[in-house]
């Protein structure tokens, strides 16, 4: 069974690669054949050349952005889950906190970024805070939804075995919530990279968003594209890692 699964995923993987190569080929043909200027669409080969020549600075920027995203993500996940568990354990807090969280979450988080930049400066801290805010609300809401999915009859059963509230939480509620929590975590990976880059564009000393912003000012569109490709790679890798964890630990769905 595991052999067939791995050959399936191998086929999927090779199809993905083939698709990407096809897109790159069409892109290259269009850019060269129509002789498009670089600010419209630079050719793939020139972007690759740009990636190679700027590798050092792009890598440094990527590391910067990745550090902000991961740190913010980790803080956001922890904060969101903790808050969700607390709110579930204290029902009276719930009717206040959940509508508030939904309201805050419905505004694009980026709207808060000027304020956060003002409060936390234009270093890494402001990006981490922004990412943490964005991630924590998503995780908070998906954890709440997950914890609510628990079957009352299951709670009764486990109580009849003599379980107290914390045992019910640990043995039943949290595992029941896990599929939704991890699904929220998976979606949040991409969100965290986006928020980090956008906030960098609004004011930063480094990172891919800052590189993109500077390159636009210098009319260096090859570099813009190179940075975008690096950002996509970070996002994809992050998404892939969490998807892997999800498949591994939420095997029962």
């Amino acid at each position: 069974m595991s052999a067939s699964v791995s050959s399936d995923s191998l086929r999927q993987f090779s199809r993905g690669i083939a698709g990407a190569l096809l897109v790159a080929a069409v892109w290259e043909l269009c850019a060269r054949g129509l002789d498009l200027p670089a600010y419209v669409l630079p050719s793939v080969s020139s972007i690759l050349a740009g990636l190679a020549s700027d590798a050092g600075s792009l890598l440094a920027a990527a590391r910067f952005t990745a550090a902000e995203s991961f740190t913010g993500y980790a803080i956001g996940c922890l904060a969101g889950m903790t808050a969700a568990v607390l709110v579930t354990m204290i029902p009276s807090a719930r009717s206040v906190v959940v509508p508030l969280a939904t309201a805050i979450n419905s505004v694009p988080v980026v709207a808060y970024s000027p304020l956060v930049l003002l409060w936390f400066g234009i270093g890494m801290a402001s990006k981490i805070v922004m990412v943490a805010i964005a991630v924590s609300f998503t995780i908070f809401l998906s954890t709440i939804a997950g914890l609510d999915r628990v079957d009352r009859k299951s709670v009764d059963l486990i109580r009849s075995f003599g379980a107290d509230r914390f045992t019910v939480l640990w043995r039943l509620r949290l595992p029941t919530a896990l599929p939704l929590v991890i699904a929220g975590m998976r979606v949040s990976t991409v969100r965290s990279v986006i928020v980090a880059i956008v906030t960098e564009m609004l004011g930063a000393y480094g990172g891919l968003g800052w590189v993109i912003y500077q390159a636009v000012l210098q009319v260096d569109f090859v570099k813009v594209w190179a940075a975008i490709i690096v950002a996509s790679a970070i996002s994809l890798a992050f998404f892939g890692a969490i998807s892997f964890v999800e498949r591994r630990y939420v095997f029962w769905r």
Binding site: S154, S160, F161
Partner: protein, 290 residues
């Protein structure tokens, strides 16, 4: 009240005595494991149970039948300690007056659905109650492993619930209930969702296991055949508010073979019980249709 008491006294071998207390004095070993007197339960405006009287002796297998919505599940929830009856009730566990909540963790309870945890494999689902009691995992697993063959689950210990058939899932749930060793086992329609063939197999198997382990069982069912086939006594509940309408002692010899269901004795028991249930079903039907 009368039916329950009469049987109780008969069993105590002191049929002439009318006074319950004196029966208890002379009964000795036959003292009921659990005893409910004047138990009522009201939910808002709905009276689910009214003056319910049940007593179960150690080692008995008592089955409960009744029309749907007669408060069987409420009775179970009270016995499992999940729900408190209205004040003024008498609830005695081994002769000691108790609140329903005192029963939490003292009764092994199996609900209608198997409620297996999908992230735990067969063995870890079976030991859930033991783990909550604080037994080390390795020890609990060992206990459960030794029990697997008896439950027809040998070789399946590492499977997850979504890989099992309905009958197997139910056996895992029963094993979980059996491993949680308590004086009273409450089984709420455990075979209700199974197909007829699997169900009869499971009934025979349950009798085997019950006889071997000498456990006291209260078994809820919709199925009169099942109630007679399994029970030492069958309790018929009335339509809401639930009381015990009829208590039928089943004197079919044990071990019971599958073909016992065609014996005259079985059929006459079934006739009596069906008539009683029919009467109550009509009542609840009329109330509902009113």
């Amino acid at each position: 009240m009368t039916l329950v008491d009469r049987d109780f006294q008969g069993a105590a071998g002191d049929a002439g005595t009318k006074d319950l207390a004196s029966v208890q004095d002379t009964a000795g070993a036959e003292r009921p494991l659990i005893e409910l007197r004047q138990v009522s339960k009201t939910f808002g405006t709905v009276k689910a149970l009214q003056d319910l009287e049940v007593s179960i002796r150690p080692g008995e297998l008592v089955t409960v039948v009744g029309p749907s919505g007669c408060g069987k599940s409420t009775l179970f929830n009270i016995l499992a300690g999940l729900e408190e009856p209205d004040p003024g009730n008498i609830l005695r566990l081994k002769g000691v007056s108790s609140a329903a909540s005192d029963l939490l963790g003292k009764v092994s309870f199996m609900p209608q659905r198997d409620l297996l945890l999908p992230w735990r494999n067969v063995i870890d689902n079976a030991i859930l109650a033991l783990e909550i009691e604080g037994m080390p995992r390795a020890e609990a697993r060992k206990l459960a492993m030794d029990m697997l063959p008896e439950f027809g689950l040998a070789g399946f210990e590492a499977q997850y619930p979504n890989q099992l058939s309905g009958g197997m899932r139910q056996r895992v749930a029963l094993m979980r209930t059996f491993l949680f060793k308590r004086d009273l086992m409450l089984l709420d329609e455990p075979f209700g969702a199974l197909d007829a063939l699997t169900r009869t197999m499971m009934q025979r198997w349950l009798l085997d296991v019950w006889q071997k382990h000498k456990r006291t069982v209260l078994f809820i069912t919709h199925d009169v055949d099942e109630a007679i086939f399994l029970g030492d006594r069958v309790l018929v509940m009335t339509a809401r508010p639930g009381r015990i309408k009829l208590e039928q002692v089943v004197e079919l010899p044990r071990p019971r073979k599958a073909n016992i269901v065609t014996s005259l004795e079985f059929i006459s028991l079934k006739k009596t019980l069906l008539e009683a249930i029919e009467e109550e079903s009509m009542k609840s039907f009329q109330v509902a249709g009113h």
